[in-house]
Each structure stands twice: as C-alpha cells, then as structure tokens.
C-alpha cells in the first residue's frame, strides 16, 4: 500500500473526559502502520479551520468517527455538533468526490451498537461498531479494522496492542518528565511523535 493511502482521519471529542480514548486511537493508528490526522493539526489561528479540516479529510483514505458524545456540555448545556459535521463531510467526499475520494473507507463507533438510530438515523445501514465505553474494546475494534485494510499480516492483534498501550500509558508521565513536561501539556504533534518513537523503540 502506498504511503499516500495510509492517512487516517480521527474524528472524536478532544476533551479531558475522552482523552484516554483519543490517545488509544492515535496509538493503534501508528502501531498499525498508518498516519494519524485530525482537526487538532489546525491550531494556527490564522488559518480557516473549516478549510483546513476539509483539506485533511481530502488527504485521508480512512476515517475513524466516534459519535458517542451526545450529551450537552456542562458549560453551555448544548451538544457538540463537530463530530456529526465531520462525519458528514467525510461521507460527502466519498459520495460526490472524484475517483480517489470514492475509495474512502470509515468506521463509525458509538457506545452501543444501535443507539445511533435514535439521534442520527440517516446513517442507518452503515456498519456501526460499539466500544461499550471501554478502551480495550475500542483498541480491539480499531486494530482488527485497520489490519483488514492494511493487508499486512505483521500488524498485531488488538489484545496485544491493548497490553502495549497499557504499559505505554504507565510510562508516559515519566517520559514527559524527562523533557520537563506534563502529559496534558503535549500538543497533538508532540503526542503523535512520542508514540511513534516509543513504538519504534520498544515494540
């Protein structure tokens, strides 16, 4: 598979509550031999965020969409619509885009497999996966999905990846401390680089 076909768009909440899940997704993407991409790359306020997200989606053949966050946020008491919007952009690119866009593939995740029918029923017919709100299940679902698409028999199974991620999570604060950083000070670029170097060194 060409490197250009290995970009994976990650569409999920970026808040503290979901942070461990987001970190697990990035870990699995890198461990499976793909590039993680997401809206957090757009932290330059001089850029048009929507335009940058569209450009990232255009470059990604694969998409991971977690639509499990439906609750209103505590501050404004309103639900976040960015995840459904970015899922719609991805599906729209696949539906209306040129040949390379029509080859897009995505996995949609929720806490329960059929819950989405109550709040986004228009995507009924898509194969929605459930992570049950558990990181180990999320890792297994993503690892097997990416392994199927990479067609690379050397990519390990989800249970091994879950064990590796668990060890990594325990060591991450000490690795950050060695650079005079706290884990919550890492940018997306920092975290992705740390994971890639760690896996190449340890796995």
């Amino acid at each position: 598979m060409a490197a250009a076909d290995r970009h994976v768009f990650i569409n999920c909440p970026f808040d503290g509550e979901y942070n461990a899940f987001f970190h697990a997704i990035v870990f699995v993407v890198i461990r499976s031999g793909f590039y993680p991409r997401c809206a957090l790359e757009t932290d330059d306020s001089s850029e048009n965020r929507y335009g940058k997200i569209c450009a990232i989606i255009e470059q990604c053949r694969y998409g991971i969409h977690d639509i499990s966050r439906t609750e209103p946020d505590s501050r404004y008491r309103l639900p976040r619509f960015n995840m459904p919007l970015e899922l719609g952009l991805f599906l729209g690119a696949k539906r209306f885009g040129r040949t390379s866009q029509s080859r897009k593939v995505c996995i949609v995740l929720d806490r329960e497999r059929y819950r989405f029918q109550k709040f986004i029923s228009d995507i009924a017919g898509q194969d929605i996966h459930s992570h049950q709100g558990k990181i180990a299940v999320l890792i297994e679902e993503l690892a097997s999905w990416l392994r199927n698409h990479s067609r690379d028999a050397s990519v390990p199974g989800g249970r091994k990846m879950a064990r590796e991620f668990s060890v990594f999570r325990k060591q991450m604060p000490r690795i950050c401390a060695a650079r005079n950083l706290e884990p919550d000070e890492l940018t997306f670029g920092d975290y992705a680089a740390l994971v890639a170097e760690y896996i190449a060194e340890v796995a």
């Binding site: 490197a3 991409r37 950083l181 000070e185 670029g189 170097e197 190449a200 060194e201 796995a203």
Partner: protein
C-alpha cells in the same frame, strides 16, 4: 509517493531525521513519521527520554522495619 518497501529501511532499524519512516517494530510493522510535527522536542530528544525511562529499572522499595 514513496512505497513502503523493505528497501527504504535498508540502512537499519532507525532512519535519518526527516525520513517518512521512524522505524520498524520487531514484528515487522513499519512505523510512519506523523504529519503533525512536535513543538516541545525534537525526535532525537524524545527518543533519548524514552530510552532513559524504558531502560531504567524501577527502584527497589526499602524494606520496612517490623520492629
């Protein structure tokens, strides 16, 4: 675009800075360099920090006095 062939890793497990590839795992997965660049350290700096932590053994706990 560059194909992910074994030839790109011919120089060894680690590749030059700026390479599209970070390294290869023992089970044979090619680890790609993420597109988003780190802001707080270089690849070499974080690799050194990882080595320090991974190679350091956990400190032995002091035996408690039972008297």
């Amino acid at each position: 675009m560059e194909k992910l062939t074994q030839r790109t890793l011919s120089a060894g497990k680690k590749t030059a800075p700026g390479s599209q590839i970070v390294g290869k795992t023992r089970d044979g997965v090619v680890i790609l360099r993420p597109k988003a660049r780190p802001k707080h350290f270089t690849s070499e700096e974080i690799r050194e920090a990882i080595r320090q932590v991974v190679r350091s053994k956990p400190r032995a706990r002091k035996a408690r006095s039972t008297s």
